[in-house]
C-alpha cells in the first residue's frame, strides 16, 4: 500500500502566507512550491515482465481537492520535465514550473477551482525512483539494472498515486507530447477514472523517423566511453558528451525549420577579422553555438540512463498494437471526453497524428474537440504563450468546471490576461 513519507498537505504555500518571497510572486502564480515524496511499497509489475519492488514518486499539487474529490487534474510530463509544473521552486526561486503559463489561479487550468497534481514518473532523475536511485537489493545505484518502462507502466504508477489521494476519477488528465501519450493511455487503461482527456501536440505512436531520431540520441549516449554500460555512477563518470549530442538532436526536432531560420538563419558566430569563415570544425554558425550550449547545459542536470529509458518508452508506445493496428478498436472502451490540440509546424508529431486520434474517437462516438493551431514554433509551441491555444484550453476547462459545478472563473491571468 501507499505509505506516506510526507504528510498529505497541500504543497503550495498560498501567496499571502509566503513571507519573504511574497513580493516576488507574480499574479497567476501558484506561489512557492515544494515537492512531496510518496513511497509505494507494493511491487509494481511492469509491461516488460520485470517488477519494481518499491518506488517513490515526487509530486507537487496546486489548489485544493474539494469535498466530492471530483476537481482533480493530473498533469503528465514530457521527456525532460518533472512534477514541477507550476510555481516557484522553494529551493531555487529561478526554477519556475515548466507549464507555469498554463496552470495557476486564473490561468487556463485554474487552480482556484481545480486541484492540480504534477507527478514525476518512475525512471526519471527529478526525485522519483530512477536508475540513479539505490537498488534496495544491492545497496548501489540501479544503473543498467533499472527495469525498462512503458507509458502504461507510468499510468499504473500514477493510478496508485490517485488511490493515495483518494481520487476515484480525474476531472481531466492532461499532457503534451509524451505527456499526451500518458493522458491517452489513461483514457484507455482506466476509462472509469478519467472524465476528460487532454492530449496536446502528441501522437498515437511514433513514426519510423521519430524512432530513428531517438536511436541516434541513444547511440550517442551508449557509445560515449564514459557510459560504462549504464553503470557510470559506480565509475564516478557521466557520459556528458553523448548526452549533450542526444539533446542537440532532440532539440532540432522540437523546433520548426522556419523558427530556426528566424532565430539564427546562417548568422556567423565570431567570424574571422575579415568576416570570413575559420575553415575548421569549431563553431562557425550561431545555431551551432546555441545547440552546443543547450546540449551541454542539459548534460549537467539530466541523467543519461533516464534519457535512454524515456526515449525507449516513447518508441514502444502504440495502444493499437494489440488490436491489429486498429486505433479505433484500441479506443473502444474510452469513456472520457477529449480535447486534442496540434500545431501546424510541429513536424515531430504533426497534425496528421492528431487526426488519427480524432478519427478513431469519432468512430467510437467519443465526444471530441480538436484545435489545430497555426503557429510557427514547431513541437515546442505547446509550452509557449499562444493566445489561441490557451483560449481553447481555458474554454474547455471552464466547461468542465461548469459541468462539475466548480463555480465560475473569478479572474483571468497568464497568457490571456
Amino acid at each position: 500500500m501507499a505509505e506516506l513519507t510526507v504528510p498529505n498537505l497541500p504543497s503550495t504555500v498560498p501567496a499571502s502566507t509566503a513571507t519573504a518571497q511574497a513580493s516576488a510572486i507574480p499574479p497567476g502564480s501558484v506561489g512557492v512550491v515544494s515537492p512531496q515524496f510518496i513511497s509505494f511499497n507494493e511491487p509494481l509489475a511492469l509491461t516488460s515482465g520485470q517488477v519494481l519492488p518499491s518506488y517513490e514518486l515526487a509530486v507537487e499539487t496546486y489548489g485544493t481537492l474539494n469535498e466530492q474529490r471530483n476537481n482533480a487534474v493530473l498533469i503528465c510530463h514530457a521527456l525532460n520535465a518533472s512534477h514541477h509544473v507550476a510555481g516557484i521552486a522553494a529551493d531555487n526561486p529561478k526554477d519556475i514550473g515548466w507549464w507555469d503559463n498554463m496552470v495557476g489561479p486564473g490561468k487556463a487550468v485554474d487552480t482556484d477551482r481545480f486541484f492540480v497534481v504534477g507527478v514525476n514518473n518512475i525512471g526519471s532523475c527529478f526525485g522519483s525512483t530512477g536508475p540513479a536511485s539505490i537498488n534496495p537489493e544491492t545497496g548501489k545505484p540501479w544503473g543498467a539494472a533499472f527495469p525498462m518502462l512503458t507509458v502504461e507502466d507510468w499510468v499504473r504508477a500514477q493510478a496508485r498515486l490517485a488511490d493515495h489521494f483518494n481520487i476515484d476519477k480525474f476531472a481531466a488528465v492532461m499532457g503534451g507530447s509524451l505527456g499526451g501519450m500518458q493522458a491517452l493511455s489513461w483514457a484507455i487503461t482506466c476509462p472509469e477514472r478519467v472524465e476528460h482527456c487532454i492530449v496536446i501536440a502528441s501522437t498515437p505512436r511514433l513514426s519510423a523517423q521519430n524512432i530513428g531520431f531517438n536511436e541516434v540520441a541513444r547511440r550517442s549516449i551508449i557509445s560515449d566511453p564514459d557510459f560504462h554500460g549504464g553503470d557510470y555512477y559506480a565509475n564516478n563518470t557521466v557520459p556528458r558528451h553523448g548526452l549533450s549530442v542526444a539533446r542537440m538532436v532532440g532539440h532540432i526536432t522540437y523546433l520548426s525549420d522556419d523558427d530556426m531560420a528566424a532565430k539564427f538563419g546562417r548568422a556567423q558566430r565570431a567570424p574571422a577579422d575579415n568576416g570570413e569563415f575559420h575553415y575548421g570544425y569549431d563553431v562557425e554558425f550561431e545555431v551551432e553555438s546555441y545547440l552546443r550550449y543547450q546540449g551541454e547545459k542539459f548534460s549537467t542536470y539530466f541523467d543519461a540512463n533516464t534519457y535512454l529509458l524515456i526515449t525507449r518508452a516513447l518508441d514502444y508506445f502504440d495502444p493499437s498494437r494489440n488490436c491489429g493496428g486498429d486505433l479505433a478498436r484500441a479506443l473502444q472502451a474510452v469513456k472520457a471526453g477529449f480535447l486534442l490540440v496540434s500545431f501546424s509546424t510541429d513536424w515531430r508529431f504533426p497534425p496528421e497524428r492528431s487526426h488519427e486520434i480524432v478519427r478513431a474517437l469519432l468512430k467510437n462516438q467519443v465526444p471530441v474537440t480538436y484545435a489545430e493551431i497555426n503557429a510557427p514554433h514547431g513541437h515546442d509551441a505547446f509550452l509557449l504563450d499562444d493566445a489561441r491555444y490557451h483560449a481553447v484550453v481555458q474554454g474547455y476547462y471552464d466547461r468542465i468546471a461548469a459541468r462539475l459545478g466548480l463555480g465560475e472563473r473569478e479572474h483571468i491571468t497568464g497568457v490571456l490576461a
Binding site: H355, V358, R359, L362, K363, Q365, P367, V368, T369, Y370, A371, E372, I373, N374, R388, A391, V392, G395, Y396, D398, R399, A402
Partner: protein, 207 residues
Amino acid sequence: MSQDAIAPSHVRADLKRIASWIEPDSRVLDLGCGDGTLLAYLQNSKNVVGAGVELDDQQMIAAVRRGVRVIQQNLEQGLALFDDQQFDTVVLSRTLQSMHNTEHILREMARVARFGIVSFPNFGYWPHGWSILRGRMPVTGEMPYQWFDTPNIHLCTLKDFEGLAQTLQLRITHLATFNGNKEVKLLPSWRSTLAVYRFESPNKKVK
C-alpha cells in the same frame, strides 16, 4: 451555463427552420459551425449529439466556450475524419457558395450522413437581375460584398442547385426560402434571398 441557453427568439429564422428538420436525439454534424449557435440550440432544444467543423480560430474558441464539440479543419480538405454515415444529418449553412469544390463537399455530405441540409444566398433574387441590367454586380444583405472582395465564388439560383442535386442523386425532401428573417412562400425563386434545402443521401443505408 448561461451561454448554452440561447433563447429561440435569438436564433435566426433559417436556423430555426433547419432545426425543425432535425430529429430529436439524432447525431448532427454542422460544417462551418461558426460560434456553435445552431449546435448549442440543437443540443438544448432537441437533445442532439452534435459536432461542428470550423476553421476560424476565434469562432472555434467561441464554440468551445459554448460547450459545443468542434473540430478545427478546412472544409476544402473534405471530411476525411468522418466515417461513412457517421451522422444522421449534416448541415452546411451559408457556406456552399464560398467552397471551391462544390460537388465534392455535397458528395462528402451524402457520404457521412443520411440527410443533408444546405443553405445559400439565392442569386435569382429579382433585384439582383435588376442590378445586373443596370450594369452592376448585386450587393445585398445576404451577399454584402463587392465583386472584387467577395468570398462567394459559386453563386447559384434555386433551379441551378436543384439541377446539381439531381446530378448527384440527392433527393430533395424539403425547401424553405427566406428574405431577411421572414419566410417567403410566394414566388420564392425571385423573392427570396436565402434558400435552405434538405436532401436525402443516395447512400442511405437501409435499416
